[in-house]
Symmetry: C2
Subunit: 515 residues, 2 copies
Amino acid sequence: MSARQGGRRRTRGGAARPDRSSGQLPEPIGVFRNPLPPVELLDATDLNRLIDAAFRVLQESGLEFLSVRCLDILEKNGCKVDRETGIARMDRATVEHFVGRAPETFTVHARNPDRNTIMGGNYINFNTVGSPPNINDLDHGRRPGTYQALVDLIKLNHSLGVCHTMGGSVVEPMDLPVPTRHLDNAYAILKYTDRPAFVRTVSEFRAKDAIEMVAIARGVSLDRLRTECSLLTSFNVNSPRRVDEELLEGLLCFGEYGQAVAITPFTLAGAMSPVTVAGSLVQQTAEALSVIALSQMANPGAPVLFGGFTSNVDMKTGAPAFGTPEYVKAVLIGGQIARHFKLPYRSSNVNASNCVDAQSTYESAMSLWAVIMGHANIVHHGLGWLEGGLSASMEKCVIDAEMIRQWVAALAPMDLSDEALGVDAIAGVEPGGHFFGEAHTLDRFETAFYQPMVSDWRNFETWEEAGAINATQRANVIWKQMLEAYEEPPMDEAVDEGLQDFMKRRKHELKDVQP
Amino acid sequence: MSARQGGRRRTRGGAARPDRSSGQLPEPIGVFRNPLPPVELLDATDLNRLIDAAFRVLQESGLEFLSVRCLDILEKNGCKVDRETGIARMDRATVEHFVGRAPETFTVHARNPDRNTIMGGNYINFNTVGSPPNINDLDHGRRPGTYQALVDLIKLNHSLGVCHTMGGSVVEPMDLPVPTRHLDNAYAILKYTDRPAFVRTVSEFRAKDAIEMVAIARGVSLDRLRTECSLLTSFNVNSPRRVDEELLEGLLCFGEYGQAVAITPFTLAGAMSPVTVAGSLVQQTAEALSVIALSQMANPGAPVLFGGFTSNVDMKTGAPAFGTPEYVKAVLIGGQIARHFKLPYRSSNVNASNCVDAQSTYESAMSLWAVIMGHANIVHHGLGWLEGGLSASMEKCVIDAEMIRQWVAALAPMDLSDEALGVDAIAGVEPGGHFFGEAHTLDRFETAFYQPMVSDWRNFETWEEAGAINATQRANVIWKQMLEAYEEPPMDEAVDEGLQDFMKRRKHELKDVQP
């Protein structure tokens, strides 16, 4: 097994610059833990006021569950269910009791055990962009997603070495039939990368298909899968206060098989939730906790994440905005709430720009500091999101990978040995001299510093003579080189056949399903 | 006095979107304090190891001071001076004693008292870019700086409402004679903005000229100026371990008149300091502390800042790199060292890109989180830096202003009143409904959210039809609108005449000075 395959942890942030022209890919970042304490935007009093308000919402207003089966479960476990409206109200003690059954930390298993990862604590995991209907790159512009684009995005993200999990679907393959598209999606993620899979789980049959496929890919039984979480999904509450039947089916199925669900209200302040950040967080908390409680009533101990997706709309136009100051506040406080309930936390790397420019970069940079310093355990849409999620961008994947790698390097431990402190090295250079030729320098320079993929540090004249290529244009060159250099992670032929046989059978069974 | 002139503190991050087409400028951000504790990258043990090493450098190797007057001062105050080499060595107790005389916090006075600001504590002040030889904008590309470009940069930054101090010079007016350029520089800063002035102080005569001019601008005597710091400057140590005579002259002159100096070693790891971040910080600390001690020997209590400018070079080419992971580490630890010695802290918002693209944005974004979360009391080069400081960019000023405003809004206090928590507002919207028409929304929507200058949140189709203009192109439009809308802060005619008379006299006196 090569060092790259081994998922070796990079501790110095100083891997050699990848020579992509010779097909060399950057070393994967491996496990990423944030050694700094999370940023706490609210003090305990304010945090408790916010949480109290969320419990008032659950007690007084409740949520509408569009599932008789779920209403039965809720009623059986002490919630007040109104069968006419489908609304379930629940008291604080009940919710706290069931939320307390969810695990604080859990492992997600990959088909390559070296890629297993942990959700919880100070583990920060990055996932690819998920579910945009469009693909975007500088060569072909923006167009509907295809299966080929999906595969390219998986290969690129695999090569970029930054994702801890992948999928969900990375771009929607609009050229495939809706009833069976989830099978191709799951296959592509299981085949072209060896990271744990993030999948979509609308409806029970889709959830179950993904579960069966990951069991085949890992070569384990469904019984063993129940004790080894191997799939992640995100579940959006239809905010405000409504939960759709197809999603609830997926939730229960995933819980039954021990797979993880990030329960994520979609609370755009001013549209689907109150216009205040505080009010949106109250609603987010109420919605997430009630569905988490339901998940634990149905399947005690099932792995879940407290999901946050609170941002705001442009009140002039109603357009969604992302990576804003309000988003930063919501991400940081969302993390506080998740930790209060000892739940792993899901957040996102977002922006609302229509192209890969300064705006997409500063909105993503604001998102990234919030999710990393807010200790989001999984950062969905970590790479490639554009246009508020309506496009997956090849160039943005590269820029996001660069930004994430810089964060990982900035938070990597520092060498504070006597040699690194360098008192003697300093003494050895005369005043006004330089350190270029010193042994202390020569012994270390190859790995001393973070080596970027995208940044161009040449002087202006050299850069201009070489065509004045900007970072987005360089990212365009890089993703093509990376697709060239992509190496498919090994998969037993029998496993591949098993996956293909399963897909073939299910496609036949599902051929008459209405989308 | 209008609300804008009043320097009113914005507490909700929700000022109305500036309608620049009608000449309305955004409200200045006012005083900015970071309510979050600073990020501490090192624990106490490691921090002390680093500081111990810095004192070893001062004891064993010392610094070369290219000034007989300074060597006299150092010797008289207990340092071991080698007259042949010009090297002064100093023990820890001496350095700590004199560094302890520097003020922990001080006020900087503006000609408009509403613009006075504070250096120290959790006050974060932004200054313009300083000293690049080139100006850069999308219309005319990159070309040598001129006096007109300098004035435009000051006017733009005044209008952007983000700078707490300005100058230094914002761009070098290469069309003016070197011996008297500092006079035009100081005049432009005192005339076209009412923020405290940042000036350059190479040589005693330049320092003294700036002091006399700010006294005229403020209408106060030199005696009163001694007790009211009204100027800032930055002083670069000629790292490693050498301090030039002209800078020392400026330092002593500024100290004598009670004006503030940010003592800033220029420690590019691998070039002017050891290739390790730890070693560069050791050298930075040794150099800064020794010059600060000297400043206090000469003028006890003179305002100074502990300056950090540790970054790294690209070890393949020797080119300087900025906004890197190593830069982030150095900024955060630099802040820890400054706080250890109870000194205000100076840092910078930097990048090494040659154009206003994703690279310039992510390098600046990494710098900004480090300087803001590291509690830098003044962020020199806060707006407009490009190419590692070789250009001042009009578009970058606008992008940086946008990023800084977003940080200020993200860290602004949050409304957690019962009304903001919105339990009743949530109850009032049916499941699956929306909040657009609710009274709770309508009462608040105009000021609920941060309103960006540059970000475009329209959908892809509308954006594409409107020409697919990226953020840098939008910034180009904005700076021209802002120059149009610029309003000169009022200055008494007599004061203006006083400044012009002083310049005229000094230009005559200096006409034969060799540059």
